[in-house]
């Protein structure tokens, strides 16, 4: 199993969610996060006082999928979250050792 962690622009969250539904992904976890990469922060000016806002709001989407689905899911997220501008985000893929469904005790891919 793989965990796919995608940090995307907040306004792209719905597109990402729908794209994942299309490839049969049943659930996901999202978190509101802040950070910066090559996009850097932005400036706000209040009565001439200029403040640099380093950390920009993003949404982190986490899904765990079977090994053979991982490449397709990553491609789908990339397609859905892409605007072509700096700050579109990043996708990380991790190995997952085990998954357990709390209600039934099923394990592995069956628990996803």
């Amino acid at each position: 199993m793989k965990k796919i962690e995608a940090i995307v622009k907040p306004f792209k969250l719905d597109d990402v969610k729908e794209a994942l539904n299309d490839v049969g992904i049943q659930g996901m976890t999202i978190t509101e996060v802040k950070g910066y990469g090559r996009q850097k922060g932005h400036k706000e000016i209040y009565r001439g006082a200029e403040y640099v806002v380093d950390f920009i709001p993003k949404v982190k989407v986490e899904v765990v999928v079977a090994d053979d689905q991982a490449d397709a899911v990553v491609a789908k997220i990339r397609e859905a979250a892409n605007t072509g501008k700096l700050g579109d985000g990043k996708i990380f893929v991790y190995n997952v050792e085990e998954a357990v469904r709390v209600r039934t005790g099923e394990t592995g891919v069956d628990a996803l």
Binding site: E32, Y46, R47, G48, A49, Y51, V52
Partner: protein, 431 residues
């Protein structure tokens, strides 16, 4: 105009015979002044509290509201005990009023000030005292001890506000000299602005000033506060005629025109320089325009108010965005930049644009009376100098009484809402 009623000499010299004949209570004037008083009252605990509160940081929002509200409450009490008599009692050498009306002694339901009951007049004046001291706090939010603010407010109203109000409106030297201040350019705005500047030096800069980002807690609240100030200012300026007449109507007109012009010019100046027309800029410009028209409101015609508002917006913007950085003082919410400097501009503009066709009491440079500019200049210098020295002394005494003017380092970092009041302005949870 206030001075007209209170300076017996001016009364005899300047009032037309018809007005003298009409002496006695006028119900129309009285009704308007009761409404005006309520309008001006709203400016402090609602208008200014939101205007300033929204600009202060999220952790100091309640403290800002608390300081504003307590200033109005203290002003209300001090005024009816000894403030009114110090400002409007029989003049002692043109410097302050005598103690004849201590605790409103001798004033009853039949007492009149011009055509309105003295009770209404003194209440109207009370709302001015309340807002003036509250304006000062804009310079020191985020760091002054609440106890120090309470002591400072009591001393400042007694020893600074009351005498200056006497000078301009209570029969004191500024009014006698012929200085024109319709609704408080010197008494309210220059006085409060200069006091704020001095107090900001004495309290010192905020921790992290110029290095850390200090975001306003809510520009929404600030914009709403500016709108309430604007609304209340109709009472402030049109009410200062102390009558429901044509001059009051004219004051209403130029007040609105100057406020709108100030907002537009601040917005366009900012748009040109930093490429964004901000809401904070619009709200600030409204107040800049209102401040500048205040001394001129009952004296100038509509075209003059366009110029007064236009320059007030640009002056306010330049002073808060450039001048403050150049000079390096931390006037947190720009009480000096907006009220002090735009007040000075308004007081000078009154000397330039006062139009005898609007009000025969005032004739400015452009109508053939260059001397008025000099008189206005003296009244500005007199007010600013007294306010600067007086505020220094009053703040110094406050410091001795309360053991320092400033919260300690940790309290300042935590925020004054929590440290001084044990409360929080917002409860927002993500889950």
């Amino acid at each position: 105009m206030i001075a007209k009623l209170l300076n017996p000499l001016a009364l005899v010299l300047l009032l037309p015979a018809s007005a003298l004949a009409a002496d006695g209570l006028d119900t129309g004037d009285t009704a308007w002044m009761i409404v005006s008083t309520a309008l001006v009252m709203m400016m402090t605990p609602a208008g200014l509290a939101l205007f300033y509160g929204g600009m202060s940081r999220y952790k100091n929002l309640l403290n800002t509201i608390a300081m504003t509200m307590v200033a109005y409450c203290l002003g209300s009490i001090i005024w009816v005990m000894w403030g009114y008599t110090l400002a409007f009692g029989p003049s002692k050498a043109g410097l302050f009023g005598g103690f004849d009306f201590f605790f409103l002694n001798g004033i009853g339901v039949d007492s009149l000030s011009g055509t309105i009951p003295t009770y209404v007049f003194l209440l109207f004046q009370m709302t001015f005292a309340g807002i003036t001291v509250a304006l000062v706090l804009g310079s020191i939010v985020d760091r002054m001890k609440f106890s120090s603010w309470v002591v400072f407010t009591i001393l400042w109203l007694t020893f600074i506000y009351a005498p200056v109000a006497h000078w301009a409106w209570g029969g004191g030297w500024m009014g006698s000299m012929g200085a024109l201040d319709f609704a408080g350019g010197t008494v309210v705005h220059i006085n409060a602005g200069v006091a704020g500047l001095v107090l900001s030096f004495m309290v010192g800069r905020r921790i992290g000033y110029g290095k850390e980002a200090m975001f306003p807690s809510s520009i929404t609240l600030t914009a709403l506060g500016a709108a309430l100030l604007w609304f209340g200012w109709f009472g402030f300026n049109a009410g200062s005629q102390l009558a429901a007449d044509g001059v009051a109507g004219s004051a209403f007109l130029v007040t609105n025109t100057s406020a709108a012009m100030g907002a537009l010019s601040w917005m366009f100046a900012e748009w040109a320089v930093t490429r964004k027309p901000t809401v904070l800029g619009l709200a600030s410009g409204v107040v800049a325009g209102l401040v500048a028209i205040t001394p001129a409101a009952g004296f100038v015609s509509m075209p003059a108010s366009l110029v007064i508002g236009l320059l007030a917006g640009v002056l306010g913007y330049v002073s808060v965005s450039k001048l403050k950085n150049m000079l390096g003082y931390d006037d947190s919410l720009d009480a000096f930049g907006v009220h002090g400097l735009c007040g000075i501009w308004g007081a000078l503009a009154t000397g330039l644009f006062a139009n005898p066709a609007v009000n025969e009491i005032g004739t400015g440079l452009f109508y053939g009376n260059p001397k008025q500019v000099w008189i206005q200049f003296l009244s500005i210098i007199g007010t600013a100098a007294f306010s600067a020295v007086g505020t220094f002394v009053v703040a110094y005494i406050t410091k001795l009484i309360t053991g320092g003017l400033r919260v300690d380092h940790e309290e300042e970092i935590v925020g004054l809402d929590n440290a001084q009041h044990g409360e929080r302005a917002f409860e927002i949870q993500n889950v």
